[in-house]
Structure formats: C-alpha cells, structure tokens
Amino acid sequence: MSELVIRNLHVNVEGKEILKGLNLTLPQGEVHAIMGPNGTGKSTLAYTLMGHPKYEVTEGEVIFKGQNILELSPEERAHLGIFLAFQYPVAIPGVTLANFLRAAINAKRKAINPDDEGISVAEFRKLLMEKMRLLKMDPSFAGRYLNDGFSGGEKKRAEILQMAMLEPEIAILDETDSGLDIDALRIVSEGVNALRGPDLGVLVITHYQRILRYIKPDKVHIMMDGRIVESGGPELAEHLEEHGYDWLRERIAA
C-alpha cells in the first residue's frame, strides 16, 4: 500500500511564502478533501505536488513509494502514479485529445519499461471508448483539439477522462467543481466515484462543500494560511457549510 505523506512543506511563489509547514497523509484507497477559503494555498499545494517550476519548495518533503517526489520532474511524478486534474486545463491547439492521450499512455509505459512498444491502436481505441462511455462523453470528443474551445464542463470531463485513462494511484482534483452546473458536476463526480477503489487515493481540493455530496470523503482537512488547521470526518464539511470559516479564524487568532 503506497501512501502520500507531506511533511512540513514550505513553498514560495515569487518570493512570497504561501505554504508554511503543511503536514498531511493520504493513504492509498482513501478520499480526502481539502477545504479552505480563497488564498490559503490550496492550488499552490496542488501545483507543488505535481512539480510546477514556478513553485519553489524551501523546506519539507513529500514521500510517495519510498521517495521524496519533490526531487522528481513533473513527468517522473506522473510516471510514478500521481495525477493532477487542473482547475484551469490548458488548451493545446492542433493536438487531438486521442493523440495526446495515446502519447501520454505510451510515455508512462516506456518509463516503466524502456522496451515497451506502446499501446496498439486497437487496444487504445477500446480503452478510450470504454472510459468515454463511463463519463457520458460523445466519441467525437476524442477527435477534438485538447481543451481548445471546450466549455468549462467539457474541460473538467476531459480531465477526468485523462485520469481514467492514465490510472493514477494518487489523484489531486483541484477545484474540479468550479464552473460546473449541477448536471456536469454529477457526471464528473460519478466518473470519479467509478474510479474509486483500493488502488486510488484522491485529494479533492475545493472551496465549496457541494462536490462532497457526490464524492464522499473519508476525511476532511481545513486549510488556512498555508497550513492544515483542522482535520475530521465528513461531518466537518457539513459543519463548515453551516458555520463558515469564522469560528476557525477566531480559534486560530486565540
């Protein structure tokens, strides 16, 4: 069983400290939610875990499968089984979703076994169609340019499709619920739920409790000012829904 362990993580963005000693353990197979008001560093955490060059780690470590992943390049982290569903997926004009996914799958397979000859076209098509059905996506979607001209809902669905295809062991969903209407939210959440299992750990980063009605977390963490300030069961999210963050702010201040 591999778990993701974050210890004393300090991160600067453009010289300003955003994460200030964050600790968190995500066991494989569990779904944890991270909630918190805007500007507390939730997205910074997501990007840092994936290795965005703009985020400078000044202290701490993130252990996964026995190694400190902070020393790895983004692609090496991906090969290890870490996946980030972006809040704002980036458009790559001229590259179809299908071509891109095939390249990504092959890159991972090759990283694991340099002699791997890649997934066959037939096998790939079968896998893709199966996952697209799961996410209620029209097959023509695969021929569209990656995120280019996608609606908000389409982008998020495409993210979950990628997650389904790449079969990560740790998935970080960065505000996947933002910009989604109820129907899209339900479809995306059902997709995530369908992928849940003993081999997948999920970190749901969200501002609202809404998505947690569909994706039931095993644990909820509250993040403020670059740290986890409170952890609990699913009831913590409901408590937040009713009372907001003020009670926590007061407690921290005291």
Binding site: G51, P74, F83, P93, V95, F100, A103, L166
Partner: protein, 811 residues
C-alpha cells in the same frame, strides 16, 4: 479567355514582380566576369535545343544583367553572382556518388527511415532499384490517360508546340532578376500536361521522376492543367537538401485552365548554406482553383562541419581556390577549398573580445559558434553577433594540422659591380629563424644587412653560423654591437621578400603564413630570440616592440601555430634627456604567450567585451561544402536566406487561389516566406494561411501581397498568419501589403504570435511527457492544419521531420 492572351495579360502586370514588392529601381547592376553568352550558347547546344530557346535564353541573360537586385526583404548583399557562375555547368550533372555524401547526411536519411535504395536515389545515383519500377508503372498509367509527365528537357524535345505555347508565359523574362537568371540558364525540372477533363488521382511526385532528385540549381517546371483537369504535384521530399551550390533560383509556372484544379505541394528541408530564391506562380482561369502548399524547414545538417581559415591572409586577399581547414563533425580538421569571396559593403562593425585576448571585428549579423549556458547545460548554437552576450563562450581555433609548404624563393638579383651572393632556393627552418631574428633585431642600411646583437647574446653564435651557412658570407662585428653583412644583392633580395623598412614599419610578409608549422615556429623563435624575454623556469614568453602592427602579425602567426598568445599591452615611458629639459615619451607594446598551447583543434573562450568599432569594409567568403571559416581565430558562419512567395494570378471569373505555407527557421537561419494573391477578375476568392516557427536564433518572416485590381468586384480574401516562437532569441516579423483598387471586396486578416508557454509544457509534462516531447507536441499541433493537407506518406514524414527538428531542443 483565349489562350493567346496570356502574354498580353501579363504585360499589364509589369509592376507586379515576384521580387519587387515596393522598390524604386535606382541601383545599377554592374556586369562582371563569370556568366557570359558563350556559356549560355554552350548550355543550349549541349541540350540540343531549338534556336528559339537559345534566343530566349540570351534575351533573358541580357535582362538579368540590366536588372537591379531587390532592395526590400532580407539582406542579399552577400550574394555575389560572379561567384555563383562558378557553378553553372553546361552539362547535366552526373549523379553524385553515395560515397561523396557526408556521413551526417547519410545518418539523417537513416533517421528519417528512408531505405538505402531511396537514399541512393536521392543522391542521384539511381540506376537499379525499385523506385524506377514504380516510376515506370506510373508512367504507363498516365500515358493511357494522355497525361505528360516528363523532364523539362524531354518536354521541350518531344512536345515542342505545347511547350512553346506556355513556357515563359506565366513568369516572363522581365519579371524579376532571379527569374531572368533562371530563364537564361535553366536546367532540370518537370513538364506536366493534363488533358481536358482528366483527373490524376495519385499525386505526381518529382521524387519518382528520374534525374530530378537532385533538384537543379536552376530548376524549371511547367505544369498545365487543361479545362476541368485535376492534378496534385508534389515537389521535394523531407530529406535534407544537401547542396554544394549556394544559390538556387527555380521558376515554377502553372497554368490552371477554366474549371481545372491544381495543387502544388513543396516540402523542402534546406540546408542553411543555401540562398533559395524561387519564383512560383500560377495563372488561374474561370472557375479554376489553385492551391500552393508550401513547407520550408530549417536545417538539420547544413552546418555540422566547421571550417577554419588557414593562416591569416586578410580576407580581402583571399581568393577562390585557396585551401582552408574545415572542422568535421568529429572536431578534426581537413582542408577545403574557398569557392567564393564577396564584398559585403562598408558597414558598422563591432569588436568581440575574449578572455584569452582574441579579438575580431564583424558585422552585427555575423553568426558565431557559441556555447551558451541554458540552466545546467551548455547549448551549442550559432548566434549572431547582436545576440552574443558577455559570458557566452565562442569557438576559437586551436591546433590546426600542418597544411603549409616551403616557400620557393626568388634568386638574389644580379647587381652590376656587386659580388653575387648565394641564397637558398626555398625556405628552411634555419632561414626562417634568421629572418625572425632579423625582424626583431635587424635592419638594412647603406646596402648592408645589420643585426643588432652583441657577442654576449646567446643568439650571437647562431646568427653568425646561419649567415655563413645560408649566404656563404662572413659577417663582421662593427663597433662591438652590430653584426654586418655587406651585400647589395642580399639587401635587395630581402626587400623583395618583404623585409625592408624601418623598425616601426616592419611587418610579417603574408607568405610566411603559408609555411609549414616548423618553419613558422622557427620564425617566431628567431623573433623571440631577438625581441623576447623568457622567464627562467617558465615556458612563458613575452616580446616587446614599438611596432604594434608587427606584434599583431606575430600574434596571428602564433595563433596559426596553435600557440595561445595573450593580449598586446601598451606601456609608456617618459625619459628626460640628460642635458635638456625636454621630455620624450616612448610607447612600447608587449605580447605575452601563455604556458600551454591549445591542444584541441577548437576551443571555447569566454566573451569579455562586445563593443561598436565604427564602420569598415566587410567581406565574406564561401567554403566548399560548408559555410564556416575561422577569422582571427574565431569560428564564424555566414548567414543564408530563403525567400519564397508562391503567387496566384486570378485572371478568370470565379477563380480561387489558396496558399498554405509553413516555415521553420532554426539557428542562424532567415526564412522569408508568404505569398501573393492578385485578383484580376470579379468573384474571385483567395485564402492565405501562413504559419511560422522560429527556434533558437532563427528568424522567420511573413511577407504577403494582396492585390485587387479595379473591376475585380465581389472579391473575397482571407489572410491568416500565425507565428510560434520557441525561444527568447527567436524572432518573427509580419509584412502584409494590400493594394485594393475596388470597393466591393471582403478582406479578412488575422495575425498572431505565440510562445510555447510554461503552462502548456507543465500541463503536458504532468501527464508524463518529457519536456522535449511536450514542446514537440505543441509544435506538431501548431503544424497540424498543414500536415493534414499532405498526402499520407508525406504527412508521416513531415511529423517525423518535426520531431527531428525538435530533437535536442531541450537541455
């Protein structure tokens, strides 16, 4: 529209020349030696051409002579036609043997996955292999349909009437200077005729036509699609165009008869060492449709060989035929031939200085082989002087192989009433040592050769011995401090060799640089024995002189021997004369040689200064097979240009023209591409899509002309130019020109410049792609619209080529 009107129609278009966007003609081209009418007659005779063609060629030649160079667009000032005539060969070129193809080119073929048969074919060796069979099968099929697909020479020979009716009608002689040149000396190319209503289903590929794989330097292609006919012609292939020629000026003429459709696809991967100035034009009649699909890729292999200039003959004195040393991809040196030299004009120059005190003056656009630190790695790239920064490392020459030969000496002149003197027939190390010593401590006065050397000097016995041995004379010691040889013939002989004048005027004669290394070093040692100082226990040496120019010569000579001379420093000393009050200032210069010579052929030295240094006459040379040379101990490159603007003349109502072009400019390369749409009839429509990618220090430009003539109402046109920049140093420019004389037109224009941004790369990397794969994917995406337009096999090769272009682009 009647066919006879083609020429007439074009006459009215006199100002719309391919290479004449907006340029007043005020420059007068001066005819020089090189190409002349005799050579043209010879070409025509060897081809067995009819008289009218010879006359056509001669007329074109005369026009070429009179025509000025275009003065817009990229700088073509380095182009000297005199040097290019060198290549005009009146005979068809014999196939180049595969063995002559440089290793790196073969390697690229292999990487492209082109089987050896095709490699041989591409190399022009093509005798016995499959492609020939393929070609014959295509021929049979086409002939049944009445389609003619032949070499341009065969077209003229076998279909004289058809040929004459269309040849030179779309691109007339007086169109532009380069078209005129082509019309005078054209050789090679295709002749295609598709009869009315015939659709050629498979693309006609020049690739499969024998003898065209070696795209001629002055290729000429004529394609005629008769009424309602359809044809797709594919030119070139994605293998690198290896060429020893420096100028390619092709002319492609296409006639799209009413209702016909022609697509002309070019995929070219030019070496960086080529000027590629091609005139491509289509005339489109009623309801016809013309599509140009044009890819110009950068260089894969063109500059893998680096060339070193042997010795330090001033560039202005270098001549074609001089041997210089070239650095191979393995960084070893081999001699190559200088094939041309050009005067590049009086231009602003800059001084580049390195930490080990090499200095060069060059123009801002001159590329240097540079190591630049990118993150943790060094990247080897060509950077223009204006892109160089202090702290970069530039390539300098180190140890060169010994290419010198002893110099044959003239006999000493006979002087009446003077005793004849014996002098050596050719240079030896001993003679050079003595001459080196003479340059330091010798002078001629009153018909006497003098050496300022005292008997206590360790060099004294050697000077005496050498004078005896070499000239058979006994020197005499004068006033205890000057060794003298009295001989008028000897003094004149020395003067003839370039050793004359006062101490402050002495120079190292240029022939000294051509000597074997042993003799050059003997000269330096003799000079150091006279003017030098060797510190005990050190190999460190310094020489002192009041003559700065002499020290500069010595420094260059030392560099050519692979020594590592330091800078020339200046020091001043003021002396009071013992009795007077007058002060005198003496200026001396000192040159150091550091302990160790450079061992490797090429080294990299840190740039310490780049500063303006006024204006100077500038020159450039061309080296056979590659286009680098060493000047002042720096490895530099000359820059090259591609200019291509396919055009459509929409002369019939309802005609449609399309140009899709892609340009990929790599380090040190300038690609200037785009297109021209000339709407001359109502209800015509056109579309131009231009995409350019600039990588490293490459620069690509879009240059487009959209013209709507009065009376051409209801014209629709759309122009899109997108540029993608891959690096901070890469550049792009857009020059859209529009001349609209009609109100009732719909014109759209879009332009965008994008960079591969960090977020795109991070997104792709987060899915497991390496940085290089990610960049390649973004580039491939940018090109996708274009690749989709290609026949399948070319699309695959194109994608492979994009990957090759991108290889090594990261880290």
């Amino acid at each position: 529209m009647p066919k006879e009107n083609d020429a007439e129609l074009l006459e009215g278009l006199g100002e719309e020349n391919q290479y004449d966007f907006h340029t007043p003609e005020h420059y007068v081209f001066k005819a020089r030696k090189g190409l002349d009418e005799d050579i043209i007659r010879q070409i025509s005779a060897i081809k067995g051409e009819p008289k009218w063609m010879l006359e056509y060629r001669l007329k074109a030649y005369r026009h070429f002579i009179e025509r000025p160079m275009p003065n817009w667009g990229p700088d073509l000032s380095e182009l000297d036609f005199d040097d290019i005539y060198y290549y005009i060969k009146p005979t068809d070129k014999a196939g180049r043997s595969w063995d002559e193809i440089p290793e790196e080119i073969k390697e690229t073929f292999d990487r492209l996955g082109i089987p050896e048969a095709e490699q041989k074919f591409l190399a022009g060796v093509g005798a016995q292999f499959e492609s020939e069979m393929v070609y014959h099968r295509i021929q049979e099929q086409l002939e049944r349909q009445g389609v003619i697909f032949k070499s341009i020479e065969d077209g003229l020979r076998e279909h004289p009437d058809l040929f004459r009716k269309y040849f030179g009608k779309v691109v007339p002689i007086n169109d532009n200077k380069f078209a005129a040149l082509n019309s005078a000396v054209w050789s090679g190319g295709s002749f295609v005729y598709v009869p009315p209503g015939v659709e050629v289903t498979m693309p006609l590929q020049a690739y499969f036509r024998l003898n065209t794989a070696n795209i001629g330097q002055f290729e000429r292609t004529l394609i005629i699609a008769d009424e309602g006919a359809k044809v797709h012609y594919v030119e070139g292939c994605t293998a690198p165009m290896y060429s020893t020629e420096s100028l390619h000026t092709g002319v492609i003429e296409i006639i799209v008869r009413p209702g016909a459709y022609v697509r002309y696809t070019t995929i070219q991967n030019w070496s960086k060492n080529v000027y590629n100035l091609v005139t491509q034009r289509a005339m489109v009649y009623e309801g016809g449709r013309m599509e140009w699909v044009d890819a110009n890729m950068g260089c894969l292999v063109g500059d893998t060989a680096l060339f070193l200039k042997n010795g330090v003959k001033p560039i202005a004195e270098v001549e074609a035929g001089d041997e210089i040393f070239a650095l191979t991809p393995a960084f070893t040196l081999e001699p190559h031939t200088v094939i041309a030299k050009k005067f590049s004009g009086h231009r602003p120059v800059f001084r580049v200085r390195t930490l080990n005190h090499r200095e060069i003056l060059a123009t801002a656009n001159h590329p240097f082989l540079t190591l630049r630190k990118e993150g943790r790695y060094f990247q080897l790239i060509w950077l223009r002087l204006d892109q160089l920064q202090v702290g970069d490392y530039v390539a300098i020459s180190g140890q060169m192989p010994d290419g010198g030969k002893p110099y044959t000496l003239p006999p000493a002149p006979k002087v009446p009433r003077s005793q004849p003197i014996r002098t050596p027939a050719e240079t030896t190390a001993d003679l050079m040592w003595l001459l080196g010593f003479y340059v330091g401590d010798g002078f001629c006065e009153d018909n006497r050769l003098n050496f300022a050397v005292v008997p206590e000097d360790p060099a004294y016995p050697k000077v005496v011995r050498l004078v005896q041995e070499l000239f058979g004379k006994e020197p005499s010691l004068h006033q205890g401090r000057v060794l003298r040889v009295s001989s008028v013939p000897l003094v004149r002989w020395l003067a003839e060799l370039g050793f004359e004048g006062k101490a402050t005027e002495k120079r190292v004669p240029s022939w000294v640089f051509t000597l074997p290394k042993e003799q050059k070093e003997a000269f330096l040692e003799g000079y150091i024995a006279a003017d030098g100082y060797v510190r005990d226990g050190h190999k460190n040496m310094s020489v002192t002189s009041a003559n700065r120019s002499l020290l500069e010569d010595v420094k260059r000579l030392a560099i050519s021997c692979g020594w590592n001379p330091s800078k020339i420093s200046e020091w001043r000393r003021t002396e009071k004369k013992p009795l007077g009050t007058e002060e005198k200032e003496y200026v001396h210069y000192m040159l150091y040689f550091s302990d160790e010579p450079l061992k490797q052929p090429v080294a990299f030295a840190k740039v310490t200064a780049i500063e303006p240094a006024g204006e100077a006459d500038t020159w450039d040379i061309e080296v056979e097979g590659a286009h680098n040379f060493v000047a002042e101990g720096f490895v530099v490159h000359n820059s090259k240009v591609t200019m291509k603007y396919p055009s459509c003349y929409l002369v019939g109502e309802g005609a449609h023209g399309e140009i899709l072009s892609v340009a990929f400019a790599r380090d040190g390369q300038i690609l200037d591409a785009g297109g021209k749409m000339i709407h001359l009839a109502p209800n015509t429509s056109s579309k131009i899509i231009s995409k350019s990618i600039s990588k490293g220090t490459g620069r690509s430009s879009y240059r487009g002309l959209l013209k709507v003539r009065r009376g051409a109402h209801d014209v629709r046109s759309h122009v899109t130019c997108d540029a993608l920049l891959l690096d901070e140093a890469s550049q792009t420019d857009t020059y859209p020109y529009m001349e609209i004389e009609e109100d009732d037109v719909t014109i759209g224009h879009e332009a965008s410049v994008s960079k591969v941004d960090e977020d795109q790369l991070f997104y792709l990397r987060s899915r497991g792609l390496s940085e290089e794969e990610a960049t390649t994917m973004v580039v491939a995406g940018f090109m996708d619209f274009f690749v989709k337009e290609l026949p399948m096999e070319y699309a695959i090769e194109m994608n492979r080529l994009i990957r090759l272009q991108m290889e090594g682009s990261v880290g």
